[in-house]
Symmetry: C2
């Protein structure tokens, strides 16, 4: 009953995470109504994603526009970044948040999103292994590896597993400090946060 092109759109978009068939249907009708020029823009925006490359060292996605050398991203290819201090992050968006602080001058390893079962996927294990191999070739051991995972129960479990894997190739392994968020109020802080802030006092 639906127009063929719309059915095809719904089939493709319903597969994407957090978009079900209902939202896909609504989106399809909406976009169809926008007309040729807007449809072209959206379609090329999708097509453009195929230009994105993945850094062979840290697995960060990067565009042609700020490509480094040797299939490295601009961070891994930057001689001013310390290559033996590595922050392991779950997602590209976490990396971006850390970059925005302008207080980290090492490099990264993008691990990929943590599964709900809390087990390291094969891909994640491969990425950790590849980190170990790069480090061995360059420095024997990393000065420091920061396991920059979310301070959640799942993040903590996962961090434990990661630490096991990376122990052999880091002189020091740390996690991000816990404490009160800037602008937060003691009165409203939960016990864990306040406890962390106490232990972490400076």
């Amino acid at each position: 009953m639906l127009p063929k092109p719309l059915e095809c759109f719904i089939r493709e978009f319903a597969k994407l995470p957090s978009i079900g068939p209902r939202q896909a249907t609504r989106l399809g009708f909406y976009i169809a109504r926008l007309g040729k020029s807007a449809i072209n823009d959206i379609s090329s925006a999708v097509q453009g994603l195929s230009e994105i490359r993945i850094c062979v060292r840290c697995f960060l996605m990067y565009g042609e526009s700020f490509e480094g050398e040797n299939n490295l991203c601009s961070i891994c290819a930057n001689p001013n970044r310390q290559q033996d201090i590595i922050a392991i992050v779950e997602k590209e968006t976490d990396l971006i948040s850390i970059e925005k602080t302008k207080r980290f001058f090492g490099r990264y390893l993008v691990l990929g999103e943590i599964e709900r079962d809390g087990i390291l996927s094969n891909e994640q294990k491969l990425r950790l292994k590849s980190l170990g191999q790069t480090l061995k070739k360059q420095f024997e051991k990393a000065e420091e590896i920061i396991v920059a995972l979310n301070p959640t129960t799942l993040g903590d479990i996962e961090a434990g597993l990661i630490i096991e894997e990376i122990k052999p190739f880091a002189k020091k392994i740390t996690r991000l400090g816990r404490g009160l968020p800037t602008g937060g109020e003691i009165e409203f802080a939960d016990e864990d946060t306040l406890g962390g802030a106490l232990e972490n006092r400076r």
Copy 2:
């Protein structure tokens, strides 16, 4: 900081209804990771939407595949459908639900989604006017117009406005019957539904 193609994707998709910048970012990374072939599929699925036409009579979207004549959809172009009984629906998906019942043999007018303020948009007024003009040319007045809007407060308000507009060109104006849904239980029916079922008893 984000790759250019990804920024472009986020810009386009964050504009779409019910997709914010966060979901657009996540979607972008997800699709980028799928690789060239899947990206092509998704991009052509969007592109395909530009083939969709809008019926000049009822404003239903239709694909080339089941195109009628004279820029009419297959329902409006079907000589076996009664052209002087019209169901006014809000959305294409409502039309599809009614078609699935196989109990309606008239034609439709797709009005477009009702705004939250409950006022008819200019586009909606134009569609109602165009219905009046078609009817005048063909039959003077429609036998019946069914205002097939949702049985919600907003739907009721809107139906009132629509009925005002279409009064001059319909012999009879009806709304969908209210009552117990098939399979529903009296015990759990809300008062309005049960009241409607009583009034509508047969």
